[in-house]
Symmetry: C2
Subunit: 256 residues, 2 copies
């Protein structure tokens, strides 16, 4: 499985992804799920993917082919020449639909689900940063001020911390920490999600990739966050007031 999260803030957007892929217990491998397309001063587009690896790779391969074959030709659609991020997302969605038409029947015939989920975000010059999610059907939703983060893959383990602490007004640097803690919780609780962790911290109007990092399994920063988080929340639970069982119980059902 996978865990990717895209977080929209007033000052930019943060993207995090894990790198574990599995096709059965004896076929666990490591692959980055984050692709970044950059034309400094013009646009930065980040794509994160979850689902069947052959399907997500097929989608990205078609996007890359269009770029190689069509770059410089304004009549040909590609990922770097759409006018808005929404148009870019529709273009990527059309590739998902192409893959669906081509591969779905063959997969389902052997009991495999058709399964592609993408997060696409970034900024095009003159417009605001955006974060979108593309479904296996090729349609999409986008993050808003009220719902500022989108997740794909094993989303549940890492959701409570974002629900509690992350908002559109969160500082970019703090958003990165929330993202790492969210991903760390997922890695801790689900063996199918694992490092390296790819992080892109995109600042509004920078229009270039200046803050990007990959944290390997034994990265001391990742270990430090994990340790401090673990110690901190255990301490926090210990500091909670104890339940008072002295009160009479309600709704008591017993059989003797």
């Amino acid at each position: 499985m996978t865990y990717c999260v895209g977080m929209l803030c007033r000052n930019g957007a943060v993207f995090l992804s894990d790198s574990r892929t599995s096709a059965g217990m004896d076929n666990v491998t490591m692959r980055s799920k984050m692709r970044i397309y950059e034309k400094p001063g013009d646009r930065v587009i980040c794509i994160m993917s979850s689902g069947n690896l052959s399907l997500t790779q097929a989608t990205l391969a078609m996007i890359d082919d269009d770029l190689v074959l069509g770059d410089g030709d304004p009549r040909k659609k590609h990922i770097m020449n759409r006018q808005t991020l929404y148009e870019t997302v529709r273009y990527i969605g059309s590739k998902v639909r192409t893959v669906e038409k081509r591969d779905r029947a063959a997969l389902e015939a052997d009991g495999f689900a058709f399964n592609i989920n993408l997060i696409v975000g970034g900024q095009i010059a003159g417009m605001a940063p955006e974060v979108h999610q593309i479904y296996p059907q090729g349609n999409s939703i986008h993050a808003t001020r009220d719902c500022p983060f989108l997740q794909i893959g094993e989303a549940k383990y890492g959701k409570p911390i974002l629900d509690r602490g992350f908002t559109y007004e969160t500082d970019l640097c703090e958003a990165v920490k929330f993202g790492i803690v969210s991903l760390d919780a997922t890695i801790k609780s689900n063996v199918s999600v694992g490092p390296p962790v790819d992080i892109l911290c995109y600042e509004t109007d920078s229009l270039q990739v200046s803050k990007r990092m990959r944290l390997e399994k034994d990265d001391p920063y990742l270990a430090e966050i994990g340790r401090k988080w673990q110690d901190g929340i255990v301490k926090l639970v210990n500091e909670m007031p104890a339940a008072d069982f002295g009160k009479p119980a309600l709704g008591y059902a017993s059989a003797a």
Copy 2:
């Protein structure tokens, strides 16, 4: 949906359940998912349930019928006369199988899944406390020192905090706090899980229900835990060291 967790400790066992049931957006109701059977000095048995309400109620109704019809008659099996907790669990599992034989086909014909999951725990005099989980197939697993908690329903949101902090050696009073925080995280992130929260804190060899409580939606203790937890983890994230994007990025993929 539902969230229930059963936690096995050196000094006893803790059981927590939410109370929200839903059969569609316009049919959300409140029902306790915790049943306790008690014969002081002899045994305490706690059953928590998740799944299709008509199926879990059918299972419990059959257990209650056996008790009413068979109590006092040692030849008739019922929930209060099995010799061990494992035998009790097998007895309950046989009821799940009876419901399966009777109702599964009718449900599946209309597209409903056959879905009963139970946590059963407690203690019988002369034996150690145990916590078991019964699957829709009627078979079971039990908690151990290495895997001291079992969850049913919406289990993922509340798993990270238990993975990090709860162990078999955790003090009973602390275990209750871990359980409340785990349930609170689930309530916060999933609208299908909600209060009242039922809690049973069972002390080894007490062989009676002495610590039981129900926390209603507006219970000040539940609100206090929620507020302190929220403030505490946000502060904890803020205190984490910031990511250092000064290092050269690895595995960088870009297209310009």
